[in-house]
């Protein structure tokens, strides 16, 4: 299945660009990669979801876990979302009030 993840650095931020579908098949890789980043000291993370076509509750769970880990390190997690279909699942779960969500990368990692 279509899932890719690329990590780059930008000033103090690690940018995790995800593309494809985040579901039960692909979220283990997503979770692993985020945990690895956080445990190696990257505590300001932007997850760029602009090329994600689909995310379900498994993907939301990964982001919740990452947020918890980062908070315990006084870190920060921001999301970039511009697709209304992806935004909708954050909206209806109420998670749009929990995550900091930007629609462009520039404001997410200033």
């Amino acid at each position: 299945m279509d899932f890719r993840l690329e990590v780059s650095e930008r000033d103090a931020w690690s940018i995790v660009a995800v593309s494809g579908e985040i579901d039960v098949a692909t979220s283990p890789r997503f979770r692993e990669r985020l945990i690895e980043l956080i445990s190696t000291g990257n505590h300001r993370i932007v997850v760029d979801l602009r090329w994600v076509d689909f995310i379900d509750s498994t993907g939301l769970g990964v982001l919740i876990g990452a947020l918890k880990r980062l908070r315990s390190h006084e870190g920060e997690l921001r999301l970039v979302i511009d697709d209304p279909r992806v935004l909708k699942i954050f909206d209806i779960t109420g998670l749009d009030q929990v995550f900091e969500i930007d629609s462009v990368l520039d404001t997410a990692a200033p």
Binding site: V24, A25, S57, G61, I64, G65, I92, T93, L95, V98
Partner: protein, 163 residues
């Protein structure tokens, strides 16, 4: 194939598309594809509503697969999972049948609200609330060796929120 265009099927009351899959995480995307194609057969359901059904299918199939693969009482990880879409008049009934040993949906303990910081302790527990929100009706039926989730959808997209 014949050169003549084919007469379309006499419009029966209901058409059914069924997908039988092994309990593997990588087939959930196939389930979404099939649901998307099934929903596209009813023009009353628009692209946004189709996304609701694909998401609900993804959640229900994920639960079915997880129940069968978990070493849980009564689970059977060799059995197939059956996803069925029945298209009626402006109404789609989607069922997902598993052999995961069954569970009691009324006994589920709700996690704190998402805005409560304690909610961050749980990565799970959003699947059924999402299905409940996306569907017009939701029922969990006991079926041999497991559960059949019955979800009914009308063409109106979801606008509400969980909780």
């Amino acid at each position: 194939m014949s050169a003549e265009p084919i007469a379309s099927v006499s419009d029966g009351d209901e058409e059914v598309i069924e997908l039988v899959i092994p309990p593997r995480p990588d087939v959930v995307s196939v389930a979404r594809l099939v649901v998307g194609a099934a929903v596209a057969m009813d023009p009353a359901f628009d692209e946004e509503r189709s996304a609701d059904l694909r998401l609900a299918a993804s959640e229900a199939c994920t639960n079915a697969i997880e129940a069968q693969l978990a070493r849980r009482t009564g689970h059977d990880d060799s059995r197939s999972i059956i996803l069925r879409c029945s298209l009626g008049r402006e109404r789609i009934v989607m069922t997902v049948q598993d052999h995961g040993g069954g569970f009691d949906p009324d006994a589920l303990v709700a996690h704190p609200e998402v805005t409560d910081p304690a909610r961050l302790d749980h990565e799970d527990g959003l699947g059924i609330p999402l299905i409940r929100l996306l569907s017009d009706e939701l029922e969990f039926r006991d079926s041999p060796g497991g559960t059949t989730v019955v979800m009914t959808f009308g063409p109106r997209p979801t606008t509400g929120r969980i909780g």
